[in-house]
C-alpha cells in the first residue's frame, strides 16, 4: 500500500491565530479601541519627557488657565499645575494599576477556575461557592472597606482591586475546563499517566486561553474604573500624586468656573474604559473557539 506517498501534506489551511486576526480586523470598534490603547500607553509612557512642565510644580500666578492658554495645551488647575502633564502622569498610574490588577486577578482566577473545573466534586463546590460568596459583596463597598484599612499606594490598590475582580475569570475558566474535561484528548492524556498538573496546564489551559484573554481585557477596563472610583472618593491615590479619579474629585469644586478640569480626566477614563471594552468584544468574536472547528 502506498499510503505514505499519497498522504501528501494537507491543503494549506489557515492557522487558528491568523484566522482570529482576520476576524478581529473586521471589528471596527475593536480596532479603534486597540489603536486608542496603544496611543494612550505611548503617551503616558513617553509624553511626560516631552512636556516642559513638572506635574507637581505649583505656579499660583497661572491658576485656572483655560486650555491653550499661556502655553498650557490643556490649561492649568487651581494651583497652576499643567493639566496635560498631570493627565499623562495620572494615566501612567491608572494604566499601571489596570494592567497589574488584571494580571493578579487573571492569574488567581485562572488557578481557582482550572482547579475547580479539573478536580470537580467537593473541591469544585467549595471553590465555586467561595466565588459566589465574594460576588455577593457589593464590589465597591468591599473595595472601600479594604482601602480604609490599608495604606493606599499603587501596590496595595492593585492588590485590592485584583482581590475583588478575579471571580469573573474563575467562572469563565471553570466553565470552559468543565466542558473540556470529558473530551477525548484529555482522557488520552490521562491514559498516558499524565499528572493533574500536566493535564491542567499543558492540555486544558491552552484551550481556555481565548476566554481568559477576553475576560482579562474586560478586567483592565473595570480595574481602571475601580481605581477612579476609589481615588475619586478619596481612598485611593493621594494628592499631590495625580490619578484620573482624584483629578475628578479635585475638579468638583470648580465645575462651573473651570469645567476643563473635569472634562479632560473624565474623557480619559471614558476613552480608556471604552477602548478596553471594545477590544474585549472584538476578541470575544475573534477567539470564539466554535468558529475554529472545521
Amino acid at each position: 500500500m502506498s499510503a505514505a506517498e499519497a498522504l501528501a501534506p494537507a491543503p494549506p489551511a489557515a492557522r487558528p491565530r491568523s484566522r482570529a486576526w482576520r476576524r478581529f480586523r473586521r471589528h471596527r470598534l475593536a480596532l479603534f479601541g486597540a489603536a486608542a490603547i496603544v496611543v494612550m500607553v505611548i503617551a503616558a509612557a513617553a509624553g511626560p519627557w516631552l512636556i516642559p512642565f513638572d506635574p507637581l510644580h505649583i505656579d499660583l500666578r497661572h491658576r485656572f488657565q483655560p486650555p491653550a492658554g499661556g502655553g498650557h495645551l490643556f490649561g492649568t488647575d487651581q494651583l497652576g499645575r499643567d493639566l496635560l502633564i498631570r493627565l499623562l502622569m495620572a494615566g501612567r498610574i491608572s494604566l499601571t494599576i489596570g494592567f497589574a490588577a488584571m494580571t493578579v486577578s487573571t492569574a488567581f482566577g485562572t488557578v481557582v477556575g482550572i482547579t475547580a473545573g479539573y478536580y470537580g466534586g467537593a473541591l469544585r463546590i467549595a471553590l465555586m461557592r467561595f466565588v459566589d460568596a465574594v460576588l455577593c459583596f457589593p464590589q465597591i463597598f468591599l473595595l472601600l472597606v479594604l482601602a480604609a484599612f490599608i495604606q493606599p499606594s499603587i501596590a496595595t490598590l492593585t492588590l485590592i482591586i485584583g482581590a475583588t475582580s478575579w471571580m469573573e475569570v474563575a467562572r469563565v475558566v471553570e466553565g470552559q475546563v468543565r466542558s473540556l474535561r470529558e473530551r477525548d484528548f484529555i482522557l488520552a492524556a490521562e491514559t498516558l499517566g499524565a499528572s493533574g498538573r500536566y493535564v491542567m496546564f499543558r492540555e486544558l489551559l491552552p484551550n481556555a486561553i481565548g476566554p481568559i484573554i477576553v475576560a482579562a481585557t474586560l478586567t483592565v477596563a473595570r480595574a481602571i474604573l475601580m481605581e477612579a472610583y476609589v481615588s475619586f472618593l478619596g481612598y485611593g491615590i493621594q494628592p499631590p500624586m495625580a490619578s484620573w479619579g482624584n483629578m475628578l474629585n479635585n475638579a468638583q469644586e470648580y465645575l462651573a468656573s473651570a469645567p476643563w478640569l473635569a472634562i479632560f480626566p473624565g474623557a480619559a477614563i471614558t476613552l480608556a474604559v471604552a477602548s478596553f471594552n471594545f477590544v474585549g468584544d472584538g476578541l470575544r468574536d475573534a477567539l470564539d473557539a466554535r468558529l475554529d472547528l472545521h
Binding site: 499510503a3 477525548d184 492524556a189 490521562e190 491514559t191
Partner: protein, 331 residues
Amino acid sequence: MTAGAPLVEVTGLRQWFRVGGGFFGRQDTVRAVEDVSFAIARGEVLGLVGESGSGKSTLGRAVVRMSVPTAGTIRFEGRDITRLGRRALRPIRPRMQFIFQDPFASLNPRMTVRQIVGAPLAIQRPELDPAARAGRVAEALQTVELSPAHLDRYPHEFSGGQRQRIGIARALIMEPRFLVADEPVSALDVSIQAQILNLLIAVRQKLGLTMLFISHDLAVVGHLCDRVAVMYLGRIVEIAPTRALFRCLRHPYSQALFSAAPVADPTLRRPRILLTGDLPSPLAPPSGCAFRSRCRHALPACATAVPPLREAAPGHAVRCIRDDVALGPPG
C-alpha cells in the same frame, strides 16, 4: 506467571453510573456494564460488538482504568489493577493504550503533531533528551505511514484518516502490550476505513499486540478479530471464536444483529430478522433475560432469572436458556 496466562483477565466487572440527582431530580443508577467476565490471551484480538447502549465503550474504558469499576476485578499481566490509584497506575499506563473513535475530539487542537505524538514521552520519560524524543516521534509517524513533513502542523489541517493515524502513533510510541481500539474506523469514510484497518493489522503483527477491538460493525470485527463477544444491555450474551460464531449464531440477539447488517452484494439476500421496538431503558431493564422483550423465541421462563453464560460448544458460550435456536451461516 506461566506463558499461557492471559494478558488481560476481567472477572465479574460492573460499571454503574449515577444519573440525575441534584436538588430536585431523582437519582438513578445506570448499570452500563453488568457482570462481565472474559480473558484475552497474549497476542489475541478480542472483538466486542454491540449497538449503542450496550455498554461496550464503557467496558473498554473501564478495562484500561479510565474509570473506577463498581465491582469485579481487572487483571493486567497477572496483576490486579482494579483499585490502583493514579500514581500506582502511572508505570502501567504505557503498556496499555487506547485508540479513540472520534479523531476530531481525541487530539488537542492547540498542539502540533510533534507535541501530540511526543506527549507520552514527555509524560512518562521526561528525562529523555530532545534528539532521542524526536527520533522516536519520527519512528512512530513512520509506523503509521505519515510523512515527517507533518510534524509542526495542527490537527485541523488533517483529514479524518490522517488524524486517526496520529492518534494511533500516540498510542504506539510507548510500545504497548495491550491496545483498546474503540470504534477506530466508524467515523471515517469507507475508502479510508480499509487503510486504517490494514494499518492496525500490520502493527498488530509487527508489535505482537494484544487487542480489544470495539465496533458496531460485525464485518469489521470479523475481519480483524480472533474471538468475538456480543454485548446487549451491559452483558455479554455470546462469546466465541470468530469463525465458530459466524458459522453458528446461538443467541437470538446475535442473529438479529447479524441479519440486520446490510451486505454490499445484491446477489446475497438473507432472511431478515426485524426486531420490534426499541432498546429498553438501561435504567429499568426487563427482569430475567434483558433481551426477552424483543425476542421472538422468548419463553415465560426467560423472565424469571438472568440466564447464565453457558458453554454451548467448546469455547462458544451463550447467555440463553434455549439451545434450539442456533442459526447457520448466511447465503
